[in-house]
């Protein structure tokens, strides 16, 4: 396990490899561990997400799913392990290798459970902000934002403020915002957990369209039927460890592990 920063001679190649189109493995996680106040929340976790693949992470609350997701864009700093994103090593051993946090986060889009739209900006300005900060000219950013809002079906709500939007509409704006910098991978942290069934439907429809367009996605979710429909790979995490993983038809229909069976049974009982 080396996983060090490339030597200077490889830099030109490395630059190209960071483009989302070139990297076949968009996210690679090996031996990742993380603890909060001495409590291990991620224990030797590994994950490999290929281009255009959709990986769902399922499991009980507090099992480490969200922490794993937040390590990918370094909202949480891992304690130990290897993390590469779009072909570039971000974290290795116990060291941060990434020197350009802003660029990493432009490569990785994130959608939050509570939307976290900027309440002082209209929908279209929410989508524009990161582009403007990244140096995209006003007119270009505006046109792209309008396009993205149209893609999530919200062109008619573009100049509304978040508080004037329903939960489902807010989450669709948040998806457009996460797409604004053309990320190589989108992270979804329980995107429908604070939505009513109708809004959940709207958001899942948009996510399904993204999946069909070939977007690479990592999805922490409680929507097991949706995970079964769209995912290429399902990972069941419990107590900070990967208990079971595989094709959705295996993990979600014919799980081999006792704990996975128990989780699915309790899910079935509550839905």
């Amino acid at each position: 396990m080396t996983g060090q920063a490339p030597d200077p001679g490889d830099r030109a190649v490395e630059q190209l490899a960071t483009s989302p189109v070139r990297a076949e493995v968009v996210v690679l996680i090996e031996h990742l561990s993380k603890s909060f106040d001495g409590r291990l929340v991620l224990d030797d976790v590994h994950l490999k997400v290929g281009r255009s693949k959709i990986v769902s992470i399922i499991g009980q609350s507090g099992g480490g799913k969200t922490t794993l997701l937040r390590c990918v864009n370094l909202l949480e700093r891992p304690d130990h392990g290897l993390l590469t994103v779009a072909g570039e090593t971000i974290f290795s051993g116990d060291r941060l290798v990434c020197h350009d946090l802003a660029r990493l986060r432009q490569t990785v889009g994130m959608v939050f459970q509570r939307f976290n739209l900027f309440p002082h900006l209209t929908a279209v300005e929410n989508v524009m902000l990161a582009q403007r900060r990244a140096g995209v000219p006003e007119q270009v950013a505006l046109e792209r934002s309008v396009q993205l809002l149209r893609r999530v079906g919200l062109a008619h709500r573009g100049v509304a403020y978040p508080e004037q939007l329903s939960g489902g509409e807010q989450q669709r704006v948040a998806i457009a915002r996460a797409l604004a910098l053309k990320p190589a991978v989108l992270l979804f942290d329980e995107p429908t957990s604070s939505l009513d069934p109708e809004s959940t439907g709207e958001v899942l429809r948009v996510m399904r369209e993204l999946a069909e367009d070939g977007m690479t996605m990592i999805l922490v979710t409680h929507e097991l039927p949706f995970a079964r429909d769209v995912s290429d790979w399902v990972v069941f995490i419990d107590g900070g460890r990967i208990v079971e993983e595989g094709e959705p038809a295996d993990v979600l229909v014919r799980p081999s592990q006792l704990r996975t069976k128990a989780f699915l049974a309790s899910y079935a009982a509550s839905h």
Partner: protein
Amino acid sequence: MGPFEVPWSEYTPALWEGLKRTMAFTVASFAGAAVLGLVLALLRLSRLRVLRLPAAVYTELFKNVPLLAIIFLTYFGLASVGIRLGVFEAGCASLIIFYAAYLSEIFRSAIAGVHGGQQEAAEALGLGRISTFAHVVFPQALRLALPGTNTMLVDLLKSTSLLVTISAAELMSEGRLITSATFRALEVYLVIAAIYFALCYPLSQGLLWLERRIRAGIPLSPARRRRLRLARALLAEKGASV
């Protein structure tokens, strides 16, 4: 003998000078207090104790000392140890020192009141620390801080009248001069009070109006109005073709 006997037309230029001086004290002191207050608020929100502690001591100290004592200390006190400030400098310094303490409390609670998810969402979009503060946290904190800050601005304007004690040539000082020349205290101070009211009432109403507009999401800057107009046109045009 009617109630109004002071030859006001003679004193109009003096009152006008006093009013201008009052405005100068208000504008300079409020600008200074807002800047110092913001710096203090940021220090108090710092993770480093060495930065937090002095800011907290400053705030607690000057919140609990009367403004008049601060005025006397900066003007007479400092002069007695050889630091002679002019009346305008001493007056502004006193008001800045005093109001920065209050404003820092308002700003601190406003910044802390911005939801933590906002900072996180900005970071996840690749915004750096400064961009995150300038474009996400600060505009939201400003909205939260506006009511308290506006109250403080009007309060500061009224407090400039305490500078009469160091003969700062502002409105109240002019009133005192006119009184000593005419011996018509009731009439003079009624007029002075009316002028303060005529300044403060429109100011506080104007600020309330501004607050309401900002809360209603009406864009204030021409650049933002233009951006939203363009956005509206683009959104409508493309929407029609779908």
